[in-house]
Every structure is written in structure tokens, then in C-alpha cells.
Amino acid sequence: MSLNSHMNVLDFTLLSLLRRKFKNFGIVLVFTLIVFITGSILFLSYSFKREALLILKGSPELIVQRMSAGRQELIPVDRAKEISALPGVSGVEPRYWGYYYDLLVKANYTILASSGSLSAGNRLLQGRLPGPEEKGVAAVGRGVAKARFIDIGSTISLVSSAGDAMDFDVVGIFESDSELLTADLIVLGRPDVIRLFRMPPYMATDLAVTVRNETEAPVIAGKVRSRFPDTRPILRKEIIRTYDAVFGWRSGLILTLFAGALVAFIILAWDKATGLSAEEKKEIGILKAIGWETSDIIEMKFWEGLVISLSSFLLGIILAYVHVYFFGASVFAPALKGWSVIYPDFRLAPFIDPYQIAMLMALTVIPYIASTIIPSWKAAITDPDEVVRG
């Protein structure tokens, strides 16, 4: 047995598959769809995960929040001083931020106080950020700009907690490459945020702590917690781990829900393989009678499974790739993203490696192939003698 014989058997298999075009193309179609759906889910969540991990590498190492009755409360700014006195802490800065529900477009914005400017070469902001103490100006995310039809130079009007309208000149808009981070942001000067939310004086939303050595962040978090028992320190590492778990969890959940469809397909494959028509059975008997061996028939059945699953697998992966990375996963994104008004519209970076491929194989090809083994063997042991006896 060498290469020629395998190629010949493959030839025959293809010929034989083509004789039952509709049935086999139907199976390839359904299988492709299964790979496409599974692949889209995996690619999408994996890319989100990798992007989130990269993006969040720059976020504060430690956030200190004050809790009251299990809810987050504003934190007195003067605690910053005490925390910065802890050994290993290099700086503490209060953060002022909150959510704003826009009745007009029924969307949630994130309002954030500016604290400094971006580095000079940053290409992701068109215009500039408001200065920390500047009043009456704003930088907004693409999503907000689209929802409110604004551009640089227009004004955006928000209603403060006191009920009066505040107008801001838009001086900066984030570029679309940054939408995964900034879609719903409105960056204002600090005095404006305080006025908009009517925050009491000397209070901030929470404190961002920078540490000299990140491996010591948990120790510092412990110290903060023992000094201020009503606080909740959040480590960057924890956030990153949470994101990792969450995306894995989400796609796992969808996959589990989707498993029903997969099982249905496997049953179809099993049925197709076991329900050999009398004609097919007779053919296999003839092949055996004219000199094909049982293992040749098993090989033919192997090729049959391979041709169907490999074609579907490759087509499915290609479609999933195009769907996720060229069309922004238009079919599944809503399920993963939730039902927002401002959908961050971004092009995902295609992080793909053998892991995704192996995972897809284990989820689609292996169950299919496995479900055809025993039926193939049953077909292959057809007695050649039966054909002779008619």
C-alpha cells in the first residue's frame, strides 16, 4: 500500500460522492454553517479578550473606592494624602467620573474629568482634550459624536443634576480606532464634572494609585484596606483576570446554548452514515466481491468523512474569518455585546493561532468523524459472498 493506492481510493470516493450530489452538498452546507457559527463565536470572543488585555495594560495599578452599605460612595480627597504616604506608593490621584443618561437618544454616556493631556504623538484624538481645570469644553467619543451628530466646533448640551442645561464646546473627538475604549466617553474639565453631577466639595469618585513596583500592589492594597476598612481596592491584575474570565465565560455560554444545534447535526451525520441505502450496501458488496478489501472500504469511508469535513471546515473557517474581521461579526456581535444604543463600531484585530484551530476541530470535526466510525465499519464488513448469491 503506498501513495498510488490511496490516491486511487480517494479518486473513487470523490466520484462516488459526486454521484449523490445533492445529499452530500447538503451535508457540506450544514457542516460549513456549524463551523462558521462556532468559529465566529470563538474568533470574536478571543479577539475581544486579547484586545482588552492589551488595552488595559495602561490602566491604574490600583483603584481605591469607598463603600457604604455595600454600594460605592464618593471618597474624601484628603485620603489621597494618607495613601500616598504608604511605602511603595508613587502617586495618588482622585478620579471624577460617572454615568449620564441621555434622554434624547436614550443612551448612556460615561462622563470623565480630564487629568492631563495625551502624549504628543497620539494619533487617536482629533483635536485636544480639555485641560484639568478648563471650563465649557469637551472631548467626545465617536459613538457620542455619531449619536448626537456633532463635530469639532459644535456644542453639546447636557442637563446637570440641578436641572440646568450646560453647554460645552467640542474641542476633540476620538478616532474610530479607539472606539473599543472611548465610544461613549465625554471628557470634561474637573470643575464641570463636579458641577454636572453636583458632587460635594473635596469628594471624588475614587482614587487611582500608582505604585513603584507592580508586584507589590497587593501588599499596598492590603495596607489601604486595613487603614480604611470602608474601602475596596481593585487591582489592575484583577480587572484583567476578570475580563479574561468574562469573555471565556460568554463564548462558553453561547457555545453551550449552541451545542443543541451541534448535537442535531451529529445525529444527522450518524443517521446518514448508518442509514446506508440498499443501493449503497450493494455497491460495497460489489466492490468487495471484485477485489476490494475491508480496510480499503474503511479507507474509502475515511476519505468520505475527510472530504466532507475538511471542505466544510476550511470553508467554515474562511467564512467565519471574513464575517468576524471584515464585517465586524454583524450576526453575533449583538449577542456578545448586549443591547446598547451606542454600539462601539470597531474593526477587531484578527488574533488567530493554532489554539483556535484545534479548538474548532475538537468542537466540530472530531464529533462528526467519531459518529461515522462504527457505521463505516458496519458497511465495510458487508459479505462479498452475499453479492454472488444475489
Partner: protein
């Protein structure tokens, strides 16, 4: 050339042994077939001819007794090796022709050697040669289901010859043919026999067993040998 090629000894075959539908198809058959014999298994249907042919052709193993092929006992060989023997030594022509529907004449002829290490273009050439020899070349790419009975049988003959078999077996070859076509078939068989092949035919058609060159006629009834005539 007159030494024995196949020798059977007390060959017995049961189907479904030990079950309610047990059938004794062949019982205690001992015959010897020589190189270059033109042998006919003669007898009414149900006499065990076909089972005998199946046993001689390595399609199935005997329940007891033995078959020796060129001095080698093959009655206990596993199926894998029986197939090997069948593939290299035998050409089989079935009563119902047993062509594979939906494939062309040429493809059908080539089929037996697909799982061997043969080069496909070479195999194709050989198959075309065989088709040429029996006047089927014009039907080369015809799907087999569109052929007449005689043409189907010619295709089946070409298929049986693709592996240059030493022994050609045919089961009731003339059952579905009219007299003229039956004579054509016998002419082809005679031609093969003259080329030195051993031909074994199971039939109850006088056109077959009353031939002058049918050297060995084994008459069977109820699974046993009634009469052996050697001319």
C-alpha cells in the same frame, strides 16, 4: 500444464450454522481442477453451484474441509489474504453483472485495481485495451445503466480480466441472454481458454456445458457432487 491448480477435499459449507435457518449449501465436495481446464459446474438452481463457485473463488471460507490453490492450503486464511489472492488470481463474472450504477463503462472496468498500487493512467490504458478487444470501445464513457444486457456483460467480462487473472469464474453467465448473445459469450470464453486461462462456469444452460471444449463437467445436486465427467 496439466497439474492441478485447485483441489478441494471434503468441502462443506453451512450458512447460519447453529441457527434456525441453517442451510447446508455444499457438502463433502472433493474435486480437482487442472491448469487450463474449461470446467462447468452443472446442476439445477439450489444445487450449490454458486456456493461452490464462491468457495473456489475465495469469496467465503468453508465450514469444514479444505481448498488448496496451487498446493497452498487457503481454507483457513483470514479475509485480508483471501482478498489478496482474489485480486491477483481470479476474475469474476456475476449472474446479475453487478456493475456500479452511475459510473461509466471505463470506470467500472478499472474499479477492481483501484486499491492497489497501480498508476491510474496505466490502468486506464489497460482497460481501454480490454474494451477494444471485446468491441466496447465506442461505449467507453457511457454510463452503465444505459447499456443493453449483452453490453453490460461485456463490460463485466472486461472488468473480470483487468487483473490478468489466471482463473476466470462465471456464475450463470447466460441466464439473462438470448441464444445469440449466449453463443457470443461462449466464444469469448473459448478465446480466453485458448489463451491458457482456467475457466470455471456454473450453469445449467446446455449451450455452456454441451460444448466440445468443456473438459470437466461436475454435476451437482443438493450440495453434493453427482457425477464428474472429464473428456
Amino acid at each position: 500444464m496439466n497439474e492441478t491448480i485447485i483441489q478441494t477435499n471434503e468441502l462443506t459449507k453451512y450458512y447460519n450454522k447453529g441457527k434456525a435457518n441453517e442451510v447446508l449449501a455444499v457438502s463433502g465436495v472433493s474435486v480437482g481442477i487442472r491448469h487450463g481446464d474449461f470446467a462447468v459446474l452443472k446442476g439445477p438452481s439450489g444445487s450449490g453451484k454458486t456456493t461452490m463457485l464462491s468457495l473456489l473463488g475465495c469469496m467465503t471460507r468453508p465450514t469444514s474441509g479444505s481448498i488448496t490453490l496451487e498446493g497452498r492450503d487457503i481454507s483457513h486464511l483470514p479475509e485480508r489474504f483471501l482478498t489478496d489472492i482474489r485480486r491477483t488470481t481470479y476474475g469474476f463474472i456475476f449472474q446479475q453483472f453487478h456493475l456500479i450504477q452511475g459510473m461509466s463503462v471505463l470506470q467500472n472496468v478499472m474499479l477492481p485495481l483501484y486499491p492497489t498500487d497501480v498508476d491510474l493512467p496505466k490502468l486506464k490504458k489497460k482497460a481501454e485495451g480490454l474494451l477494444e478487444g471485446i468491441g466496447m470501445m465506442k461505449r467507453r464513457d457511457f454510463p452503465v445503466q444505459g447499456l443493453s444486457g449483452g453490453e453490460q456483460q461485456r463490460t463485466a467480462i472486461a472488468r473480470a480480466l483487468i487483473n490478468d487473472p489466471e482463473i476466470v469464474l462465471a456464475d450463470e453467465p447466460t441466464a439473462h441472454l438470448d441464444t445469440a448473445l449466449s453463443r457470443d459469450f461462449m466464444a469469448i470464453m473459448k478465446d480466453l481458454w485458448e489463451k491458457g486461462k482456467t475457466v470455471i462456469i456454473a450453469s445449467h444452460d446446455p449451450i455452456v456445458f454441451e460444448n466440445e471444449y468443456a473438459a470437466l463437467v461436475v454435476e451437482m445436486r443438493d450440495g453434493a457432487v453427482r457425477n464428474v465427467t472429464r473428456k
